[in-house]
């Protein structure tokens, strides 16, 4: 017991205490600057669940998460497959592909907002010069453009994580599997779906789980790109938590939103654990 005490203390300080604090705060009406307030029981949850804002933001959060995650996986796996080939400057390319992941979100957003700008942005200029559009497109101020734009920026920012994980796994797939597939007459597409993808299944499950949780609670990128607009088109749950806590100074309600978000993410976590347990049992049986 004494040996694991430090671990328990650290986990208690950085996970259990903040978690219990958030749950505790969610039962109070609290003015953020003074942290003073009074007990309101489940009133915050009643108001939250009864408001259209929560459900609308939950749907928006789900759309953003699914959209950007899908792009990240597609681009990430594609890029990992490319970097696995014997291409020129492969080492350099493997290093450069990590660049967006290391870049500060604030800097990345500034650059992308500039690219999307209707008056000076290169994106609109290029499309107009190519004759694809006649007038600048409102990338961030109209729907569904704003949602699509933040999905693309999110995918650009976070796909390197997928690349790292998938590339590491690709390097451990035995070459004999591909040779056997070739002997059996499998082409590149068949080899991908029948050899590569099954081998990537475990790592992709982990990547999807982690990125789902991280994308679900993404705040800074969306806040800086659109602020949640137009209207509430990109207003995800983390933006509401921030506004409740620091705009409206209602820390109790913000905590209720945060706890609700945690419960939604818990569903993903339980699904993952169940799947992991089932797989572990299957491996043991084999």
């Amino acid at each position: 017991m004494a040996l694991i005490a430090p671990t328990i203390l650290v986990l208690g300080a950085v996970i259990v205490y903040p978690l219990l604090s958030a749950i505790y705060l969610s039962f109070f009406s609290i003015y953020t600057p003074t942290l003073e307030g009074h007990f309101v029981g489940l009133a915050n949850y009643r108001d939250l669940l009864g408001s259209g804002g929560f459900w609308s933001a939950l749907v928006t959060t789900a759309i953003w998460t699914v959209g950007t995650l899908t792009l990240q996986i597609l681009v990430g796996v594609g890029m990992a497959l490319l970097l696995q080939q014997n291409i020129l400057f492969r080492s350099l390319a493997r290093g450069l592909v990590l660049f967006p992941y290391f870049l500060s979100t604030v800097v990345a957003v500034l650059v992308w907002r500039w690219l999307f700008n209707d008056l000076y942005g290169i994106l609109n200029q290029m499309l107009m010069n190519a004759g694809i559009i006649a007038a600048p497109v409102n990338w961030l101020g109209a729907m569904p453009n704003a949602m699509l734009s933040i999905m693309v920026v999110g995918a650009w920012k976070f796909f390197p994580f997928v690349v790292i994980a998938v590339l590491a796994r690709l390097q451990t797939i035995p070459e004999s599997l591909y040779e056997a597939a070739r002997i059996d007459g499998a082409g590149p597409v068949s080899r991908f779906f029948d050899v590569t993808l099954p081998q990537l299944r475990d790592v992709l499950t982990i990547v999807i789980l982690l990125r789902t949780v991280w994308d679900f609670k993404e705040f800074d990128l969306i806040y800086l790109m659109t602020g949640g607009g137009p209207v509430n088109g990109t207003r995800t749950l983390p933006l509401i938590v921030y506004n409740q806590a620091f705009g409206l100074n209602q820390m109790g309600m913000a905590a209720a939103y945060a706890v609700s978000m945690m419960l939604v993410m818990l569903v993903f976590m339980l699904a993952y654990l169940r799947r992991a347990n089932a797989r572990s049992e299957a491996d043991s049986a084999a």
Partner: protein, 450 residues
């Protein structure tokens, strides 16, 4: 058999070596830090926050700090920049964590009123007395008056934040001889000037504080108000529908990206020459001089047009103020430093750092030759005088007219984006204005009750 002596420089580095080096480095760093403690700055430190922190303004603040520190060798002042959109969060966390700055400047008056009402600010009556209330413009501090007969803050400047900026050359080319004075004239002018890649206007339609703050002015310019003088929700009225209709009709004369405009984008659109008119404060002057001097002789400003000539102008002044958080240490020193910021020459230099943008609240400084000798203030004397006059008579949601009671919820109403959302629902989503305004009225009532 003797092992040959190994060259220690060739010996491979082991895990133990690495740990030794790390331990040694740690001990050396700890020793250096301990030694440093002996020579640490013993002066009293005052922290000063402001969202106004352009390079020129920082230079002016440094001069003010240096002068105060020279007169008070036991005190040092540290400046920390905040932001217009981010200060509510920074303030909330600073208060909650009890990590308070000693002095904050350039926050809007309605923020000061709210924080004071929550018991978070010291009254600054002593500071105003030390500066001399007679040195201010008449009534300059009334907006900071509290229900307990104190001052929650004092003005550090004035800002006429929603002036109509126009291009004289483009007006002339469109055959317009005088700047627009009504909405119909403005719309017509914008239509005529919109050509060759130049848009007519730079109104904001974004989901942010600027849209809320600017649109409140349009409700007043239609003869309406957001709240009645006794703070009942009054937004659901014909003037609000008129203001929405005007905003909607102007959308086609604004850049495509105006639906994401905040202060920076709106300012840049006019300064860069992308729009023929702009809506902003005197910051335009310095930015045009620095970034687009080719149009410097062609710009002018007036108070933003109203719906009709019989409705008086309404100028948005956020009344940038100086306030002192309650609970921060060294109160006497803080008040002394606060008063020192109004030393005429240094105060004028602070105004020079953003000429026409932050306008003086001290009458003597506004008329002083040193202040007026600034090249931009000299060049645009008529515009600066007009902005000074408009700002002095200006208002904001914290006190919509002189007859209104201070609205202690104004800060949270702006932060909620409820009014910006109204604009977006009607203009961008084409929702029914009556339904959208009714929903906003309910939302405002909820915010007032919260």
């Amino acid at each position: 058999m003797n092992q040959p002596e190994r060259n220690p420089l060739r010996r491979p580095v082991t895990r133990r070596d690495t740990l030794r080096v790390l331990a040694g480095s740690g001990a050396a760093a700890a020793a250096a830090l301990t030694a440093g403690c002996g020579s640490k700055d013993e002066r009293t430190t005052l922290r000063w926050w402001s969202p106004q922190a352009s390079p020129d303004q920082l230079k002016a603040y440094k001069a003010q700090i240096a002068a105060f520190e020279a007169a008070n060798p036991t005190i040092r002042v540290v400046f920390e920049a905040t932001s217009d959109e981010g200060y509510p969060a920074q303030f909330a966390t600073a208060f909650a964590a009890r990590q308070l700055p000693n002095l904050v400047t350039h926050l809007p008056s309605f923020a000061a009123q709210q924080y004071y009402a929550e018991g978070l600010l010291e009254p600054v009556d002593d500071v105003i007395k030390a500066i001399g209330i007679d040195r201010y413009f008449a009534g300059a501090n009334e907006v900071y008056r509290t229900s307990d007969k104190h001052y929650c803050a004092t003005g550090i400047g004035n800002t006429a934040a929603d002036m109509l900026w126009y291009r004289k050359d483009l007006l002339a080319a469109a055959g317009i001889t005088a700047p627009p004075a009504t909405w119909d004239e403005l719309r017509s002018a914008a239509q005529k000037m919109q050509r060759d890649g130049i848009y007519g206007a730079a109104l904001p339609y974004g989901m942010n504080a600027m849209t809320s703050l600017i649109f409140i002015g349009f409700i007043h310019r239609a003869g309406g108000q957001v709240f009645s003088p006794d703070l009942q929700v009054a937004i659901d009225s014909q003037p609000t529908y008129d203001a929405l209709a005007f905003f909607q009709s102007m959308r086609e004369f604004c850049p495509t990206g105006a639906s994401n405009f905040s202060w920076g984008e709106s300012l840049t659109a006019f300064v860069s020459g992308s729009t023929a008119t702009g809506i902003y404060s005197g910051r335009v002057l310095a930015n045009v001089a620095a970034q687009n001097p080719a149009i410097a002789d062609a710009i002018g400003c007036t108070t933003y047009p109203t719906m009709s000539r019989d409705i008086p102008a309404w100028t948005y002044n956020d009344f940038p103020c100086l306030l002192i958080p309650k609970g921060a240490p060294h109160l006497a020193e803080t008040k002394a430093f606060a008063a020192s910021l109004y030393q005429p020459q240094l105060y004028a230099q602070q105004m020079h750092a953003a000429p026409g943008h932050v306008l003086p609240v001290l009458r003597a400084v506004a008329d002083d030759g040193f202040y007026r000798a600034n090249p931009l203030i000299t060049r645009y004397a008529a515009e600066v005088d007009l902005m000074t006059k408009a700002a002095t008579a200006g208002h904001n949601l914290g006190q919509e007219t002189a007859a209104h009671k201070p609205n202690l919820k104004a800060n949270e109403i702006i932060a909620s984006n409820a009014i910006a959302e109204l604009v977006q629902r009607v203009v961008l989503n084409k929702e029914n204005p009556k339904a959208a305004v009714a929903a906003t009225a309910v939302r405002l009532a909820e915010l007032m009750r919260a």
